[in-house]
Amino acid sequence: MSPRGARALLVSIVALHLTLVLAYTLPRGWVPARLQAWSQHYVRPLFHQRWNMFAPDPSICDHGLEVGMPDGTWRALIPADRPYLVRRMARPLAQRVHDDLLAGGRLEPFLQQAIHGLARDLGQGTEPLRFRLMERCVMDPKHPGHRTVDVLPVPPTAR
């Protein structure tokens, strides 16, 4: 192959990959629907990536899951003394539980498994475990330190 042909091939491969990755990761409204669909087929199986941390806006509400203790008190579902990779699951898990509660109140089966799995250190009692979601929301973005606190009960599920 001639140097020019090799270079053209190289540029084409890179451009095609880049176009499809951008179509997959850029805000949906910016990308034509058909290109978006192609990018799903190409990027999702092998090159999945999302770069929307705190974008387009950080969430104005934070969420934390808590589990009821046998003595009637509550503790964080993932306590602060857990390893960092376990602690990291707290936020996305609480967000998904919140989304399910808003959508209709029933948790998807994998979420039920997850919250029970993370509370397995509480042992196999006979009483169903109780969970709740703490939600703290910013009222005025100029004063984000002032947040309202809500407690959302999580419907009981079997262990």
Partner: protein, 271 residues
């Protein structure tokens, strides 16, 4: 195409060192994420590729994840001290993709970046000789991989910055204050100094927007790398995502071209 060997070699060693360090740091959580995962895996996406990338969550026997962790640690450590080999990097990519998909809720953008870079590293040269004398078709796939890794880093910064421009709070200067007072992040004291929070807000936006442009020229590249190191270390430590910050930093060397040049060697391509 002549590839800057030193940049490639630093990238390879950095990514392998990151892999080893990340997996080592995951061992205290092994009981929760590798041995008896508290969170069930998500269904594998359709298509034959998932047999390879979601083996741990589909057909592999229970308990395979921790074996994959130790196997990958050994392979990664080997590639830190010995030259990279395409078939070893291929195995590393399969193992790492599986582990990321298996422990999906504990994954971060850093895991996704490394998984993508690792895939293209399979096609990069493992020796300096290969980087300088590759012939068709090797020269094309090596060059394409090299440029895709370079541009992958820029895509991450550009997309997150552009996405932020479509929102409200980043443009109003309030986003950093909101993040700082989120119970999962911090530091909350930052929001008590609104001017500082707004300055950090716009500095982050400016850094992420300009990084994909600044790295093309040596004088600006060095300054943006320095800011990037500070940015990723500070956000990594305060948000508890140090592994994500380090994942970005180990890819930086692919853009360093000290004492080397990227160019074409027509006689080599033609050979």
């Amino acid at each position: 195409m002549i590839l800057p060997w030193r940049s490639i070699h630093r990238l390879q060693r950095g990514v392998h060192l990151w892999l080893f360090g990340y997996l080592l740091s995951s061992l205290p959580a092994a009981e929760w994420i590798w041995l008896h995962p508290a969170v069930p895996p998500l269904p594998a996406p359709p298509g034959p590729a998932s047999l390879l990338t979601h083996a741990l969550s589909t057909w592999a026997p229970p308990g395979s994840a921790i074996i994959a962790v130790f196997a990958l640690m050994v392979l990664a450590l080997r590639s830190v001290v010995l030259p990279s080999r395409w078939y070893i990097t291929l195995v590393e990519w399969i193992l790492f993709s599986n582990l990321v998909n298996f422990a999906w809720l504990a994954s971060s953008g850093g895991n996704q970046l490394i998984a993508n870079v690792l895939f293209w590293m399979i096609l990069l040269p493992g020796r300096e000789e290969d980087a300088r004398t590759a012939t068709w078709p090797k020269a094309v796939w090596q060059g394409a991989s090299f440029w895709i890794i370079r541009l992958q880093l820029l895509v991450a910064y550009a997309v997150t910055a552009l996405d932020k421009l479509t929102g409200t709070h980043w443009l109003a200067g309030d986003a950093v204050g909101i993040v700082a007072t989120d119970m999962n992040y911090g530091p909350a004291w930052l929001a008590s100094i609104p001017l500082l929070a707004a300055m950090v807000n716009y500095a982050v936006l400016l850094f992420q927007l300009t990084f994909p442009v600044a790295v093309w020229w040596a004088p600006t590249r060095h300054w943006w790398f320095l800011v990037g190191v500070l940015f990723h270390l500070v956000t990594g430590i305060t948000f508890g995502i140090l592994d994500m910050g380090l994942a970005f930093l180990v890819v930086y060397p692919i853009w360093s071209r000290q004492g080397e040049r990227v160019g074409t060697a027509p006689e080599v391509v033609r050979a």
